[in-house]
Amino acid sequence: MESRFDVIVIGAGHAGVEAARAAARMGCRVAICTLSEATVAHMPCNPAIGGTAKGHLVREIDALGGLMGEAIDATGIQFKLLNRSRGPAVRSPRAQADKRRYGAWVAEALCREERITWVVCRVGGVLVRHGRVLGVDLETAGGEAGGETLHARAVVVTTGTFLNGLVHVGRRRTPAGRAGEPPSQRLAESLKALGLPWGRLKTGTPPRLHRRSIRFERLERALGDEQPVPFSFMTGRIDRRQIECHQMHTTERVHEIVRANIQRSPLYNGQIEGIGPRYCPSLEDKVMRFPHHERHQIFLEPEGVDADEVYVNGYSMSLPVEVQESLVHALPGLEDAEMMRPGYAVEYDFVQPTALSRSYEAKDVAGLFLAGQVNGTSGYEEAAGQGVLAGINAARAVACEEPFVLGRDEAYLGVLADDLTTRGCLEPYRMFTSRAEYRLLLRIDNADLRLTERGREVGLVDDRRWARFQDRRSRFEENARRVARTTVTLADGNRARASQALRRPDVELEWLARGNELRLEVAPGEEREDLWSVETHFKYAGYLERQEATIERARRLEHRRIPASFSYSSLPGLSREIAERLTETRPDTLGQALRIPGVTPAAVALIGAKVSA
């Protein structure tokens, strides 16, 4: 096997595949290492992509030229636009995936990239000399140290939950990255030896049931949208037949069983130390921490069109198998359900991402990038989003180019990178729209207008996407001009500028365009996108103008750079605690410094005075 590459990506999960493809598209020769070819872009938990804020991430990944959007559009089996009744900034697409087909689609897409080489082998360590990455050491087929060495100028670590992973089911503990997959221990120790700071987190998954053992007729159906809204700007219409999901609630009986067995849960008997996500509570937590809630919502989601496994959304647990069985059977309609796989919890090591710069490169090891759950995040979309940017930056590092960093006012991807590297993770990090202070600006309808040109500049957007985007952008600009100069007659008979009329909550562009006064350019199949982006542009105009001043002020702080060598400990007036925080995080700019928890405006003023002096 060839042993010299430009970029080596360790892991073929959602982060790894995006990183490998991005670097390859940017001209690098890439090796992608995975423990198994069968788990490429695997979904170990919920077989779904998107959701509030996560859907935004997918759109942005797509706008930059990433994979995830097209993958889910091609293999989704139920689509739903969340927050449809609310404003365009918080609408977000979500889709159930055919889990097996999704993975196969992504693997195939990567196989089409000529510059990608597959390495199905466990990586045992990262090779570093003089603070610079040289490559990786593989383990032998028998899992011993001392396999082959692969060389590269950049290495991207995307090993998810595998570093010292430990799976819990009741009192049974099994070292594993995911149930049934052995963990990566040697690699974990190799990374720790580089001095990267560590933490331990936990996540969990519910049991899977056999489809034919469920009495669906007794359950409430949950349907998707009639007309799916695609994730990718490259997808026209989605006309696939959609499946149905089902909905139910926990019962008092369920809560009783949990309470009676709580000491057998590794979460409650002290067996698990890692911190779990509060936005994804286990059934144990739901019952114990919210005793005043009579019931909790549960969804049954098929894992594919013809898959037998059904995912029990909302029922994640790590109780012993027999307790899980009785908990399943306690649910109405599931009395005879066959449990194909029990739920479990997994604890794993993660790297505290404050050790990374916003390009996902380790501050102290040139050429070493980390992306995905290994950085303390949770979720496929968060992983993929980091993967794209880490892949881009690995390729740029190989080409000796400046890092590619997106701002908080440019993309959720920018918010993600900034939050992680500035504040680190105390619990698994998931994206929410409320994390984006410029939420009104970061919408799904303008993700391409915000990012596709950036993706083209770095070389990730191919000609096909670029041509399609340019058409769309010129339609957008032309339509915006027309709206700005046209006066229309409103429902009440009054006349107003279209641009002003649209600021009213009840006035829709589609309605205005129905008359003769306002003519708009729309491409067949893209009418909705075309109308949405123009409408939103004007609907939010007043708010965006007001926000512009805030953004400008923030940008000034964002542009005040702090030298990497800046010594906080010798800066008089800084408390030791704040100085330590800053020394650890080493923010690039005053703006970033101000976002570090515990750092006061007074402290930033002190640094600012010193930096400009």
Binding site: V90, Q297, S316, F432, T433, S434, G573, L574
Partner: protein
């Protein structure tokens, strides 16, 4: 900016002779310096007053019998090690103790530096730090009281109470956006609009009381205006309690502005006596009239003086017209002389607001004028409750919060969706948080997770 990690010293009590005076030493070297300027052989016990002598560092001669107290950081005023030496209050001796401390290695503190350190080390929030400054520079007793309340956190408490309600509202709205399919009903936008409106009203009340607080803190200017010879300077002198302005029988005696600051029921009021306003061609007098008009324009309130012994003329009416709608007190003077007219029967006087009839030859009217003027300044409602906030910056921020809240409530009432209502609510929240200097980016999510069982 000066260093903030060395040891500083200063007299901590107000200047001038007093009962006791305190010299405060703060910084890493405080305890070492205390060892060199005090005669105790043993180390000072934390937080306990020790009777000892302050020594001249050169010839070890006792300077004063003092009580010395050691406050180890971080539980001290500045958050650093602090030694307080209280002596007998003679400025000369206190200064000698300070000199002894500087000779022993301390640096003389800049004004406000103790407070700055307390703030930098997280012992005070911004509001409290600013209040300390106000307390130290307070002139009148009521001013001191307001500043003191602010130090004790009244302001923080008042804003904190508003902020908590707003925060809760924001958290519920955010939850409804980020968790749309949880089967929860957090709050709808219209209900949020109603809450925003009631919050706006509360912020408004705070601003109104704050503006009174500001009067107390910063004081205000009151111009005395009227035609020549009506008794303006007489009124001015009586309010000042001294013969400041020249009172003369010849019209046009006061040519330029004369000012004097007086304590009016706790508000520092700068009175401005002006030249008589009348139409004139004489150059110097014309300049005086211009300045008088300018003073009237910028003043927070105006006292218009009229002469009852002569009929009102066009200049009087013009002045009444110009000052209509402003906080104003009309004084009808020379009631001891035969009346040429009377406010009671002059129909156009009815709309002139408070009118006071006076005789300014002796001081008998002073109390009545003070009372009436105070009422005009307080906008009719007397300052009964101590206003919580008296800082201009805070009033500005409260104004920003109120405007944002009103926009939010209007948007919600007009059917705008949550993210737009939130854009304004967030701005209001930022403004309120800027006052107390607090800021936690994850707070909203924290709140949501703690209150609701979210996620699958």
């Amino acid at each position: 900016m000066f260093a903030t990690d060395d040891t500083i010293v200063a007299i901590a009590t107000p200047p001038g002779p007093g009962g006791v005076g305190i010299v405060r030493v703060s910084g890493p070297g405080a305890i070492g310096i205390a060892g060199r300027i005090l005669s105790t052989s043993s180390r000072l016990a934390p937080r306990r007053a020790t009777l000892t002598n302050a020594l001249d560092p050169v010839d070890r001669r006792p300077l004063d019998r003092v009580l010395a107290t050691y406050f180890p950081g971080p539980r001290s005023y500045t958050g650093e090690d602090v030694v307080e030496v209280s002596g007998h209050g003679s400025p000369v001796i206190l200064r000698q103790i300070v000199t002894a401390a500087t000779a022993a290695g301390a640096r003389l503190a800049e004004p406000g530096e103790f407070t700055l350190r307390a703030f930098l080390r997280g012992r005070l929030d911004l509001v409290q730090a600013e209040a300390v400054h106000d307390l130290v520079t307070a002139v009148t007793p009521r001013q001191a009281r307001v500043a003191f309340d602010q130090l004790e956190g009244t302001a923080t408490a008042a804003i904190g109470a508003l902020d908590r309600v707003l925060f809760d509202l924001v958290a519920r709205l955010e939850a409804s956006l980020d968790f749309p399919d949880e089967g929860y009903h957090f709050i709808d936008a219209r209900a949020a609009g109603v809450e925003a409106a009631s919050l706006a009203a509360r912020v408004h009340d705070l601003i109104v009381s704050a503006q009174r607080g500001r009067l107390i803190r910063d004081g205000c200017q009151v111009a005395v205006a009227g035609r020549p010879n009506v008794g303006k300077s007489s009124l001015f002198n009586q309010l000042c309690g001294v013969q400041r302005a020249i009172v003369a029988g010849a019209a046009g005696t006061t040519r330029d502005l004369v000012t004097e600051t007086v304590d009016l029921g706790g508000i520092p009021v700068t009175l401005v006596d002006t030249a008589g306003i009348r139409t004139t061609t004489e150059e110097v007098e014309a300049e005086g009239v211009r300045r008088a008009r300018a003073a009237v324009d910028v003043a927070a309130a105006v006292i218009v003086v009229l002469d009852r012994s002569r009929p009102l003329d066009a200049d009087d009416w013009a002045l009444l017209e110009e000052t209509a709608g402003r906080p104003r007190l009309v004084v009808v003077n020379k009631r001891d002389l035969r009346a040429a007219w009377s406010p009671a029967v002059e129909p156009r006087m009815a709309a002139c607001g408070p009118v006071l009839e006076t005789c300014l030859i002796d001081g008998s009217a002073a109390t009545a004028i003070r009372g009436a003027l105070l009422q005009v300044l307080e906008g009719g409602t007397p300052i009964r409750d101590t206003p919580a906030i008296s800082n201009v910056r805070h009033i500005d921020l409260l104004g920003r919060a109120e405007r944002a809240l009103r926009r939010a409530s209007a948007a919600a009432a007009g059917g705008a969706s949550e993210e737009l209502v939130l854009a304004d609510l967030e701005e209001a929240r930022r403004a309120l948080e800027e006052i107390s200097g607090k800021r936690t980016p994850d707070a909203v999510l924290e709140r949501i997770f703690e209150q609701f069982c979210i996620g699958k």
